[in-house]
Symmetry: C2
Subunit: 272 residues, 2 copies
C-alpha cells in the first residue's frame, strides 16, 4: 500500500494488517463493520490481574454470551495468538475508559494508561455469523434499515464468578419461521460468536416486556409473519463488568472492534 | 438406594449422585468407564493459584486437547457448575500426587492435601464421543479388544502460556475410510470432548514414527483396509504440567474420572 490515508483505498480495507496499521497511526478512529471482510473481529475488555482470574472463570461458565477468542499474558499488550504484531494499546480505533463502573473517557489509544498488571480479553462478536446468514439469503432487518441491532437484558441469569454476574443480554433479529430454522442451523456452527439462539418467539418468557424499547441499540420493525429470534450478546460481559465496578476497566467503543488475522471461516470449524 | 456397597447394584451405577456418594465413602476406588452412562466424565488437574491463570490461558489457546468443562473458585473444593454437592477432595476414586513433575503418591482422597490457594480444573474426556460413535455403529478396536487406546506425543506444538507448552498428545483409533468420514461428522459435534480429528492417514506427518510403540496405552491392530485416525487427547495438558514441574499438582489416576451431573448429550449442543 502507498502509505496511511484518511480515506482508505479499496485494497487497504481488505487486509487486517493494513487496517490495523492505519488504526495504530491514528488515521482511523471510526467503526470497523465491513472492514477486512472475511476476518474475525472481536470485543475488548481489559482488567487488572486481580480480577482477571474471576473474569476468565465467568467466560468459561457462560460460553454463549462470553465466547473467549484470546487472552493476553499479564502486562503484555501483544496478542500473538490472534494475529501478527497486534498491540492492544493502539490497534483498536477507539477505547472507552471505565472507573468504578462509570464511563469517564473515550480515547484513541491507551499507551499512557497501560499497566503492568493488565490482562486483555478478546470476546467473539456477531459480525461473522451475521455475514454467514446474509450469504445464505437471510435478510437482517437492522442491516437493511441501517440500524444498530436491538439488545435487551433478560431474566436468563448468567452463572456468577467472583464479582461478575447479571442477566444475559440478548440481541434480537426478526425473521420468518423458515428463516429462523435456517438461522439456528447456520449459527450453531459459530460457537465462538455466540452460537445458536437462546430463545425464539414470546419475549416475556425471558423477561422482555416491551420489544419496542430495547436497553441498547435501535427498535426494529417486526412484520406480521415474523417472530423475534434472540441470541446471547457480547454486551453481557460488559454489563457484568459494569455491575462489578472495577477500579479501572477499558473496553472498545461500541462498533470499533479489534480486527484479527483469523479467517472468520475458521469460526465455523467448531474448535480449531 | 439401600446404602453404600462394595459391589454396586445395577441402579446405583446409573445415577451420578449415588456413584459419587459411594466414591466419597471410600467404597469404590477403581475406574469409572461405563458408570453413570449418559453423563459427562472429566479429567482433573489441581494447581496452585499462581499457576492457575497461565493454565487457564493454555486451555483457552489449545481448546482441542484442553476442552475446559469447569473451573473451581480459588480455595473452594466444590464444583456447583458441574453437579450437585461435588467435593473435588473426595469425589474422584483415585488421585495422583505430583511434586516438581514427579509422581510421588496415589491416594483415595485429598482432604489432608487441600490448600487455600488450589484451583481445580475439569477437562473433557473422550468417553462421550466414543459412545456416540459406538451408537452410530462404528466399532472401536480398543473397546472390542479391551485395551487402553493408543496415545502418542506428536510434533503438533501447542500454543504456550507461561510455563505450559509441549507437543499435542493424540489418541489413535483405526477405522475404514467410510467410518473415518462418519467419525469426523460425529465428533465435530463434541467440541467439549476434543471435537473432530487433528489428523488421519500417514502418522509420520505429525511426527509419529512407529504406531506399534505408543507413548501411553496399548498398541492396536490396524487391518489392511483401515487407516489410523488421530484425535487431540486430554493427556496433552497432563504432559504440559509435567514439563512445567509445578511444586505440587494433583490429577485423577488415569481411568478414574470425575462423574458430573451434565448429560453427555449436552456436549453435542456445541455451546450450552
Amino acid at each position: 500500500m502507498s502509505g496511511i490515508q484518511t480515506h482508505f483505498a479499496d485494497d487497504d480495507l481488505a487486509d487486517p494488517v493494513s487496517v490495523r496499521r492505519a488504526i495504530r497511526s491514528g488515521a482511523f478512529t471510526g467503526q470497523t463493520a465491513g472492514m477486512a471482510p472475511g476476518y474475525t473481529q472481536g470485543n475488548l475488555a481489559i482488567l487488572p490481574a486481580d480480577l482477571a482470574m474471576d473474569f476468565l472463570r465467568y467466560c468459561q461458565r457462560n460460553p454463549k454470551p462470553c465466547p473467549l477468542v484470546g487472552v493476553s499474558d499479564t502486562g503484555n499488550p501483544m496478542l500473538p495468538t490472534l494475529g501478527r504484531d497486534i498491540d492492544i494499546r493502539t490497534d483498536i480505533p477507539s477505547y472507552n475508559i471505565y472507573r468504578n463502573g462509570e464511563l469517564t473517557d473515550t480515547v484513541s489509544d491507551i499507551k499512557e494508561l497501560w499497566q503492568d498488571d493488565f490482562v486483555a480479553f478478546i470476546i467473539g462478536c456477531s459480525f461473522s455469523f451475521e455475514q454467514a446468514m446474509v450469504n445464505d439469503g437471510i435478510n437482517l432487518r437492522h442491516l437493511q434499515d441501517n440500524l444498530t441491532v436491538s439488545m435487551y437484558v433478560t431474566t436468563l441469569e448468567t452463572t456468577p464468578a467472583g464479582p461478575f454476574r447479571g442477566g444475559t443480554v440478548v440481541s434480537m433479529r426478526p425473521m420468518t419461521a423458515r428463516n429462523a430454522i435456517r438461522a439456528v442451523e447456520i449459527t450453531s456452527r459459530f460457537p465462538h460468536t455466540h452460537g445458536s439462539p437462546v430463545h425464539l418467539g414470546d419475549p416475556t418468557e425471558i423477561g422482555i416486556t416491551n420489544l419496542t424499547r430495547p436497553d441498547w441499540g435501535d427498535a426494529q420493525l417486526i412484520e406480521e409473519n415474523e417472530i423475534p429470534v434472540f441470541w446471547a450478546c457480547g454486551v453481557t460481559p460488559q454489563n457484568a463488568i459494569r455491575l462489578a465496578k472495577p477500579e479501572i476497566c477499558i473496553t472498545h467503543t461500541p462498533g470499533s472492534m479489534l480486527i484479527t488475522d483469523l479467517p472468520s471461516q475458521l469460526d465455523s470449524r467448531l474448535d480449531d
